[in-house]
Symmetry: D3
Subunit: 238 residues, 6 copies
């Protein structure tokens, strides 16, 4: 029995609010249950140094948590003067996941910077971030198409992510914080709309896991991501 | 004529949403028009080093802006490795303003940390932060009273803040960004519920200002703060 | 009765020593009683990045305290790896104050950097810094005029500053350290030679202050600044 | 055909040199072909702050690359003042992998710090590091047992790691740098001696990968790790 | 012919002003010609961590240059966030030189921190710093003796320093900036009052130097330091 | 009697292994007894900012110690976010020593960066680094000559270094760690192949030293450096 009483293969209630703030070219509030993340996409007409003159663009991401998005207050990273290893790991994951579905040549010599800022955390902030970031990226690209800066979309597919894990011996979908902090195995899976894997990061927190558990977890993740992509499509249809 | 068509002495629509996020002991979303700030109050059962064993508590504040809360994306302070001078100036102001209405001895040897994070900026983020932070502080203290950790409230009064300025030759209340970036004089005023001044920070951005303008600006600020304190009271009454 | 036995409206003995060190284009030692600050102005034939190609110059300031300028030794900011919030607040104030009396277009595409380094502190270091910095700036500009780099002075007026406060219930001028650390209200006022206000920063350290006290403090400040501008003129006449 | 002419399921020549340097409690040079990493284990009789008084120990890891371990010189992280996101990600992975096979309670209130420093890089530095680090950890624990500081070994099993990937459409084992920089999918797998999975990190560098490819890659990894554990055992037998 | 017209073995005019600022336990302005350094000694009733409970004291030094102490403005180290290698090298040299003449056990569990801040630079700032720092240290220790905190002086001897170099083929004493920037060999020598060497740091800026030149330089340095110690004694006699 | 039983004028066994790693243009493992340092030389086709367009090249050095190269683990400088004063002092010394034997004009507008990383420390790491760095520099320059990037060698001479010291009253050559940590005087000497002095850094750790001891130490150092240069030549002859 999950603490939230969800069935093993049930996502939390997922909500995408597009156009959440007004300055960014793409701005989405994504909620997975009590996990809430603001994802913005900012278009910048330049590229990082290592891409200057290479005839292609870039998509990158930064991630942060408000100090009191969590049960006890975390130090503000701006005040402590550096981003934690966890923060860097997550923002690198978000960036790679999005780049997997963007044709950077078609994007032209510009950069889209995704900011994912966690307002409230209840587990799965990185996977929620990826789901919301894709929508923000979509809206920023739609803006570039609408104003004629791009003639063809560089966006190749959807990308979405979900966590799966083994909680009290049972594979479950979309772990919330009480599950995340007690589970044996925790896996974050990123897939495209077409069903290809982009990233898999699995960690045995307690006992190592077997190949069979792995297969079960991937099947759960595939099902969850199929639902999440459908929800992204519904959000775009609004 | 103000860009927003407001009369010279009109505040923007002000909205306080208490209990905005669920982890913090106090959590308020404050909106002054398009300026939106999340203010949380976190109770910590310790004090900074310089107060150890002094038999009193502390109230302090940190301030940040989401990178894309503004018209063009600002660098994330956590990534650049330090807080700007502006950020430090604002968070010091918020902290001083709140401490002016707290009896730190009555608070006991604990610290309340206020985090003000700007979700969307349209001028006046520091004054909105102070108004919302007071409510978050109030709610955190109410929690301490409710669970018996305090027997008497250390909160002495309301505190609220507003900006005033000289825009196209005319003193106006509560500047939004278009006014703020074009005004001659910009003044932030912090007052208690009882009408005493706590902080005044006035800057001539263009032409120096006279003692008469100063008096007019203070009168406008007093009126605005009176309204803001009434709005804080209404929010508490909900 | 003030600890220094001064009357309420008396400045400390103020002394400006121009050409104090020999390398800088402007170099002034300013003493307000025991407060001693070296102010230098350095002319640099370039502007910060955000002004490149804008056809105007810039005036900026940096501030520091020698570690043992104070009663107990402070950490050296260079060793601790960052400037405190207080330091940044002060150097931003000095920069804004000076820019208020400089026509940056007339200055041309060059920058004047003011360094204010406190050799000995006894209260009022920021206001002494502004008074001395103006003289250093004046001398640097005089040098540019003398060598034909400028044909017309970009310096529009004097600027000077003084602190005022409520000490034991009485408004007093130019607080020294014993007063500063015990006063109820502390206000720094910056004015031009023509008598316009450039900056007002007032803080209630103890009880909030009223509009009447505010008016008294401003009157005291105006009187003090009038004297300080006269002293600047006398220093220039030497 | 692989650039190295290896068959798809062949490891590079792997060599472990124990007691490589003389100060550390465990010191191993591990070579996977041209990839060379010095792994040391240092025993410290204290634990990090968050474990004080919890009656358990800790195992953690740090990772670095000599600036010219790579084809073109990388900036020295000590000189640039921070560790890159990649470095932090890798050292977190090494630490988690080792902790998966250590009974931290049995270790007692002490910490073992693993340092993995890459002398020469040719792909697979993180997986080589984990393999060598386990041996260094083993030797450090053996020393604690030998001098009676521990009565029972807290080491539960071997741990080893290898990379697998899809290179020119074919799943291959233990990628070297030419393969790593050209492959479609890159996966790092960490397993215990008993054959359980500890970490799986798979990334589609080019086209997303399917569940079938995933299964093939995991099978290759299992085979490689079985060989690596055998090589660790051989090194212990020397 | 030296640029300053001094003879090869002539010091610049040297001046020590004791009690230069009023807060520090020892405070000396030292001038070697146009080189001016403020040296303060601060007594702190604690020791650095590595000496806790060891029954001895510590003497350490910090060094800085005002940004415009030099011909062109240097970056403020506090603003750039770190001390340069040169700064660290110099402050380590000053600290070691002073500790060579202090019986740290007799000093007791306290620390004396020397701050050397260069107001105006014209070559030889580190050697001037050492000469002035010794006087500041002396005065701080005299204060400890006077107020009974020490019963016996831990100061074993004088220490003084001077630079020597080969300028246009000729060994000269006490290089000023024009000589320093053009000389072939530059050597800083630190000696005790009794004539023992404490530090020798010689660098061939151009052609390497011979053992004969070395001997000549040391003889010149000995003569100069003998004079400097006499000047320290005269300053104490005032 | 020296702890190592060496005679007073005996070097430790010295070994140079050229082509130690394969990426760098020059790569040397240097061993002085148990002190082991990897020295690499990296050729970069650009120069630091201050030399842009000056028609000359640059040689610079960086130095580091693996955290467990020492008896107890040192903090990793990359993790603590800055290089210590000692590290900076050493890398500045290595750079100056090498530049003393390079004609920077003949090197052309390119930079050679030397990295000296201590694998195992037993005293004398800086002097071993200089000896090995010279060989790495030689090999990098040989490569430039071989591929026609240089037509004439900018390398003017050998450079080598050794430590000497007064251990238990006796001058000894090439101190190892047990001697280094117990000696009265410690001197590092850098000389060219032609026998000129490039750097002398002598420190009295205990009692000050006399001019006679100085002469004895320099004689010992000359003898040791003559042997080291012969060993460098032998290494080149291999």
């Amino acid at each position: 029995m999950r603490p939230s009483l969800r069935s093993a293969d049930a996502l939390r209630p997922v909500r995408f609010t597009r156009h959440f703030t007004r300055h960014a070219e793409g701005s989405v509030l994504v909620c997975f249950g009590d996990t809430q993340v603001i994802c913005t996409a900012s278009v910048e007409e330049n590229v990082p140094g290592f891409l200057k003159g290479k005839g292609q663009g870039w998509v990158t991401a930064e991630y942060g948590m408000l100090p009191r998005s969590t049960g006890s207050r975390m130090k503000r990273e701006a005040a402590s003067g550096k981003q934690s290893g966890r923060t860097q790991e997550i923002q690198r994951l978000i960036g790679r996941s999005l780049r997997a579905v963007v044709d950077l040549k078609k994007l032209g010599e510009r950069q889209i910077v995704i900011d994912c800022d966690v307002i409230q955390a209840d587990g799965g902030t990185r996977t929620a971030s990826i789901c919301g970031a894709w929508l923000a990226l979509h809206d920023a690209i739609a803006g570039l198409l609408a104003r004629g800066a791009l003639s063809e979309s560089p966006l190749l597919d959807h990308v979405a992510a979900v966590s799966v894990g083994v909680y009290q011996g049972q594979p479950v979908l979309d772990l919330d914080y009480p599950e995340d902090s007690a589970c044996d195995t925790d896996m974050n899976v990123v897939m495209t709309g077409a069903g290809g894997f982009v990233e898999i990061q699995g960690t045995a927190e307690g006992a190592p896991f077997s190949r069979e558990e792995m297969a079960q977890l991937l099947a759960l993740a595939e099902q969850g991501i199929t639902e999440l992509v459908a929800l992204q499509k519904a959000a775009l249809a609004d």
